[in-house]
């Protein structure tokens, strides 16, 4: 068996979230008091992270747009909440009930994902966006018009409460599971196929990748986790109301993914936590007619960030001044000179760039290159 080199970057998010969870759990379990609004905020952050990471799989890695992420969450919330309510009498309000609700809710969301994915993902173009948008509206109107006995109709479905004190621990364990599944999927053979489809669908098809299969796989996985986030939501709130899971909520999740940077899981996590935190703070500040300022902020985030990150005219500017480039420069300065990749790259270019008379007059080997180990390839 071969051991791969341990890459801290691959595990940093597990470590940070894991430590955070353990610390907060220890505080709660040893009788320390966490404010109930803080606990609720933690649950909401966990739900947002699961949603953003799963949407990032579709938007960032598959390169398709899903506008019905809240719809899948809605399915999960209603089905999970209903299952929990039915099991409450026989199994009680504990972990078994929660796990069964989680499986059923996630499963039904996955089935919905397949049903929606089959017509939309066979086609190229923006069809997935419009079909998922339609799906979100269909789900909303179906649950809104149910009778009071089945899913509570317009008033919403009352859900059994899980022990408030410990729910956030389970929520963060679910976040870790989501991360593990999504990240391993992306780094697997399947994930490479998915990113190959994003970069060039025709080339991927020509290389023997079953495009529809991999698209469907990624999309269904994303829908499943949206459903799981929904089940978590139904346990964290007293009622599930379909009006909550509209188009605006889907956009909010999209804003998290775009703000975090498309194709960056860690970015999605940070943005999800940030936006959820901001939402809670803004909700107390911006009341009444001012609440719309929040939507204005989201709209501006979407437009400005996407244009900045994608406009062909801004490419040279991005290459010099983008956050990731600056960050890399900052980190590299602290490392030993052997990892100065910039210099290695320059050394390859030097002979073709310099003038003939310079070649005659000076030594072309740059002084830094002499200290190098000499294997010009990057990692």
């Amino acid at each position: 068996m071969m051991f791969k080199k341990f890459n801290l970057n691959h595990y940093i998010n597990y470590i940070v979230i894991g430590i955070l969870t353990v610390v907060l759990s220890v505080i709660t379990m040893t009788g320390g008091r966490l404010d109930s609004s803080l606990l609720f905020l933690l649950e909401k952050i966990a739900i947002s992270i699961i949603l953003a990471v799963s949407l990032s799989l579709v938007v960032g890695f598959l390169g398709e747009l899903s506008l019905g992420h809240a719809g899948f969450m809605c399915v999960g919330a209603y089905i999970g909440g209903k299952v929990a309510a039915l099991l409450e009498d026989s199994l009680g309000n504990g972990l078994p009930t929660f796990l069964i609700a989680l499986l059923v809710g996630g499963g039904v969301a996955a089935v919905c994902g397949i049903i929606i994915g089959i017509p939309a993902l066979r086609l190229r173009g923006d069809y997935l966006a419009i079909v998922t948008l339609a799906f979100g509206e269909i789900v909303k109107s179906l649950f809104q018009n149910t009778s009071d006995e089945t899913f509570g109709g317009a008033l919403g479905l009352p859900t059994p409460r899980f022990d408030k004190k410990y729910l956030f621990i389970i929520a963060f364990v679910l976040v870790l599971i989501t991360l593990a599944v999504v990240q391993n999927f992306i780094r697997s053979k399947h994930g490479r196929a998915v990113t190959a489809i994003r970069d060039n669908e025709i080339a991927a098809r020509a290389s023997g990748i079953n495009v529809t299969k991999y698209k469907l796989l990624a999309f269904t996985l994303s829908a499943t986790f949206a459903g799981i986030a929904g089940v978590l939501y139904s346990f964290s709130n007293y009622t599930v109301q379909s009006a909550k899971f509209g188009y605006n909520y889907s956009i909010e999740i999209l804003v998290m993914v775009v703000l975090g940077g498309m194709g960056s899981i860690n970015g999605s996590i940070i943005a999800a936590a940030l936006i959820t935190f901001l939402n809670t703070k803004l909700a107390t500040v911006l009341t009444g007619d001012l609440a719309v300022l929040q939507n204005l902020l989201y709209a501006l985030i979407l437009i400005v960030i996407v244009i900045y990150n994608n406009a062909p005219a801004l490419k040279s500017f991005r290459d010099r001044y983008s956050l990731s480039v600056l960050w890399k420069k900052l980190i590299r300065r602290k490392h030993d000179p052997a990892t100065h990749k910039d210099d290695e790259a320059k050394w390859d270019v030097v002979p073709t760039k310099i003038e003939m008379n310079e070649v005659l007059s000076i030594d072309v080997v740059p002084p830094e290159a002499k200290g190098n180990t000499g294997n010009g390839g990057d990692d």
């Binding site: 938007v59 390169g63 398709e64 747009l65 506008l67 929606i116 089959i118 017509p119 939309a120 066979r122 086609l123 190229r124 173009g125 923006d126 069809y127 966006a129 419009i130 079909v131 948008l133 339609a134 799906f135 509206e137 269909i138 109107s141 179906l142 809104q144 018009n145 025709i202 080339a203 188009y247 956009i251 999209l254 775009v258 498309m262 007619d289 719309v292 300022l293 939507n295 204005l296 989201y298 709209a299 501006l300 985030i301 979407l302 437009i303 996407v306 244009i307 990150n309 994608n310 406009a311 062909p312 005219a313 801004l314």
Partner: protein, 290 residues
């Protein structure tokens, strides 16, 4: 009979509105190859411009200002938000379009408040045809739609500008080599689409004299559905899809048992069409080339 006739006329006039919006979607999609999510919200802006200028009590001026305002807005959006992204991935353009749509909605809500505004553009009254009382505005909507569709079809078929549009939608690079100003054509397409959206806004106000910041959101989505059903990129397809969707909606509202699920039914039709005939009724199948 009475029910049938009134449903037919209502369905056709609603379908006309959808067709009008779908036409804007289809033209922009055909030429700029992008789904302009903000199109529905231009309807709403048109409605608010009419509301503002109706303070002068001159319907024709209000309608004229709405058309001009929407055309300018459409061009502005294209220049500021979409043009920098030409050549970028379609996903980026789509997300920006959603951002623009969201921006217009929230700006409208900031300026005009979240409460509905009431405005009566012109009261056509009602007329009795074959013993059935009917809103004249529905007939006007239908008539104007048919005239606009015919004019647009003739424009695209027989004028230099229209043919240049067809050329750009077929092949941008080749069109440019033939001396067509591709950027100019895209701007003109956005202008025409926005003008149609302004008219759709007017028709909505004729149908029900109330306006809010989300007026255009749902019709926009439905009109896109109509464009896909009829075949995206096809002008008669937009008309057919729009009328079909309008009829389905009106019939569904008349049947009490399924009335609450009307939206769900319409979107289910979209999903079924995509399963059975992805190019829509009148769309052309394009082969993908490297």
């Amino acid at each position: 009979m009475e029910l049938f006739l009134s449903t037919l006329i209502n369905g056709l006039s609603l379908g006309g509105i959808y067709a009008m919006i779908a036409l804007g979607y289809t033209m922009v999609y055909g030429i700029a190859k992008m789904l302009n999510f903000a199109h529905g919200d231009i309807i709403m802006v048109g409605g608010y411009i009419i509301y503002v200028f109706m303070a002068l009590n001159n319907p024709l001026l209000a309608i004229f200002m709405a058309v001009v305002g929407c055309v300018l807005l459409g061009i502005l959006i294209e220049k500021v938000a979409y043009k920098p992204l030409r050549g970028a991935s379609p996903l980026a353009v789509l997300i920006t379009a959603i951002g623009v749509s969201y921006l217009l909605q929230s700006l409208a809500q900031i300026i005009f408040g979240s409460a509905n505004k009431m405005v009566t553009v012109y009261d056509f009254g009602s007329v009795t045809i074959l013993g059935v009382p009917m809103q004249v505005s529905a007939l006007v909507t239908l008539g104007v739609t048919v005239v606009v569709m015919a004019a647009l079809t003739l424009f695209i078929k027989y004028t230099r500008l229209g043919r240049a549009m067809i050329a750009v939608s077929e092949d941008k690079g080749a069109a440019q080599l033939m001396g067509i100003n591709v950027n100019g054509i895209i701007t003109i397409t956005f202008a025409i689409g926005s003008a149609l959206a302004a008219l759709a806004g007017l028709f909505y106000l004729l149908k029900a004299p109330s306006i809010s910041s989300t007026l255009g959101a749902m019709p926009g989505i439905k009109a896109f559905t109509a464009a896909v059903i009829g075949g995206i990129g096809s002008i008669p397809g937009a008309m057919l899809g729009g009328i079909l969707l309008g009829m389905v909606e009106c019939i569904s509202y008349k049947i009490t048992a399924i009335a609450p699920y009307t939206d769900a039914i319409e979107f289910s039709i979209l999903i079924i069409i995509l399963l059975v005939r992805p190019t829509g009724f009148l769309g052309k199948k394009r082969r993908e080339k490297v």
